[in-house]
Amino acid sequence: MPKLTINGKEIEVPAGTNLIEAARLAGVEVPHYCYHPGLSIAGQCRLCMVDIDKVPRPQIGCNTLAADGMVVQTETDRVKDTRRSIMEFHLINHPLDCPVCDQAGECWLQIYYMKHGLYDPRMTDEKVHKPKALPIGPRVMLDAERCILCSRCVRFCDEITGTGELGIFQRGDHSEIGLFPGRALENKYSGNVIDICPVGALTDRDFRFQVRVWYLDSAKSVCNGCARGCNTEVHTSQRRPHHNQGRRIARLKPRLNPEVNRWWLCDEGRYGFGWIDDDTRLVAPARREAGALVETAWDDALGRLRSALGRYRPEEIGVIASPQMSNEDLYALRRLLDDLEIQSRDFRVPPREPGDEDSLLIRADKNPNTRGAELAGLAPGSGGLDTVGILRAAAEKKLKLLWIFHHDLLVSGLPEADVAAALSGAEMVVFQGPTAGKTSAAAHLVLPSAAYVERDGTFTNFQGRVQRFRTAVPPLGQALPDWEIVARLARALGAGGPIGQAERAEQVFTALAGAVPAFQEITYRALGDLGLLVRA
């Protein structure tokens, strides 16, 4: 492990560490554009220059490996002056688009100019003109004038997705990022080039002109699109409700997790947040009255469910939970079902189409918490029925109360006729979930769930990694987290215990960790930002 000195501070780093990373470990920022830890070294931007003792000229940090005894200075006058020069070179042909550019506020030309530039511009000749506002795919907008030709996007498409759509054509100051004429950036990870583009050359079509980034709030979360559980940041617009068409969720960004998704996020996950602020969200409890669903209060709704649970025998009740629910939701439900001795319970519903999978991030299982559902004990209990059995029993009127979580069963992989028969066969159908659908429309009682971004909780990904997601916005309308709906129900049933007393998701998790061996010794604090694997 080489030991080197950076700005007077001695530090030991793993062999093979470049000076940008070594400096990062020493708490020192070396500004850079083309370098990205997930991509090959380009050495093109020339911004990451540092001074190294006994070396006559500043060297680029990205391509210099830390060596034993190396003495590095990142803040000499010469380095500062070089950075100022390199900033000027970058801005010679850059269009002054800031007022109309989405990148403003998170643009590395702006940031580094303010930190390392601050010179008076003297380029008064005509700048080179290139294509602007050119959609290059369903997700990505290109402005070739703004491009600083760092080549990160080209390297991403070559090295990460292997699709090679992007290139740098021509030469000199006419060099231009682009696609092969007539083609599109259509790989399943196209949105990542927007993240890695340091400037406003590649911007998000979905986010275009919606809201300025300095009005955004951020919460750390986990994507709920498949069993990978890519780590995300949820960016919300809560300060300017008249922007972003009033939608609260503005965009999702990937969050670095070396064990799960590294720096990347698939497009399906990145753009899969529209449902959260959609009109189809269930925002209030509802009960069926004279053939239609009418809004009602939580007390009334839960009261009805409580009586139903008391009225029917355990073997007349079937519960179809969902791997969309969090560990807390599932454990709270399992405790309730155990207390009520309800054995017919399951969480597996086949999807309408088989899910796509690849060798990068995408998993065929489009649920974030299948492992969690397995570990929480929501498979059928002794003598209990599984999903198909539950539905058949309901159709045969042997099962009277059907409690469905999240799944729109009528548009799943189950035969629609079988589901319809079950829904009409059961005396009472309770639908609990965030979004209205065909199944909720057929229910007698509808309980609105908070979306995962509207509460705290954890998912367990396919690797067995338990990961926290955190509240980004308050629940819409009167929606509540599933675990909280179950807790209120438990209290109404007179059940004490940790579930009935829980006021925060963490308390439910603590109970879960105490009861399920796989989660032993895992706490929210220990999970941190990157999660932990369940015990074998």
Binding site: G164, F169, Q170, G178, F180
Partner: protein, 161 residues
């Protein structure tokens, strides 16, 4: 008839492509030679030719397009039967390249970068061809023509088929 819009090499040419690819430790090394072959065959390197050649190398078309747009000898549009490329770098400039260019523009009735309406001649200015001892000079197709005067230029043009 080789068609740049529907390009296809003959079996013989494909064998040549294979041979060229085999000369290099990585077959991608044969890209420039094969692009030269393609341009000689199809007249210019159209987008269709780029896709075709990309297929022969297992490269994305974008990366072939990068190469074609980077080098000046690959024409992306049809060129004249003859290409007249006048050097205008330092020695040729000192020895009167500008006058030669003006003379050619006048004689051919086109601007630099254009092709005569009859498709016969494309006029270009280019950077140093390294025949400075014969400045001012130009390259006509495969040949260097040196020590140019307007009269000599006229004679050369007259000799073009």
């Amino acid at each position: 008839m080789p068609d740049a819009k529907r390009p296809e090499f003959t079996a013989e040419q494909l064998a040549e492509v294979q041979r060229l690819q085999g000369l290099y430790p990585d077959k991608r090394g044969a890209l420039l030679p094969v692009l030269h072959l393609a341009q000689d065959t199809f007249g210019y390197v159209s987008l269709e030719v780029e896709v075709y050649v990309a297929g022969l190398f297992g490269l994305s078309p974008a990366h072939v397009h990068e190469v074609v747009t980077f080098y000046t000898l690959f024409f992306q549009q049809p060129k004249g039967r003859h290409v007249v490329a006048v050097c205008h770098t330092l020695s040729c400039h000192l020895m009167g390249a500008k006058g030669i260019v003006e003379h050619l523009k006048d004689k051919l009735g086109i601007d630099v970068g254009e092709t005569t309406a009859d498709g016969k001649t494309t006029l270009l200015t280019v950077e140093c061809l390294c025949a400075c001892e014969g400045a001012p000079m130009m390259q006509v197709d495969d040949r260097y023509e040196v020590n140019l005067t307007p009269d000599k230029v006229d004679r050369i043009l007259a000799g073009l088929a």
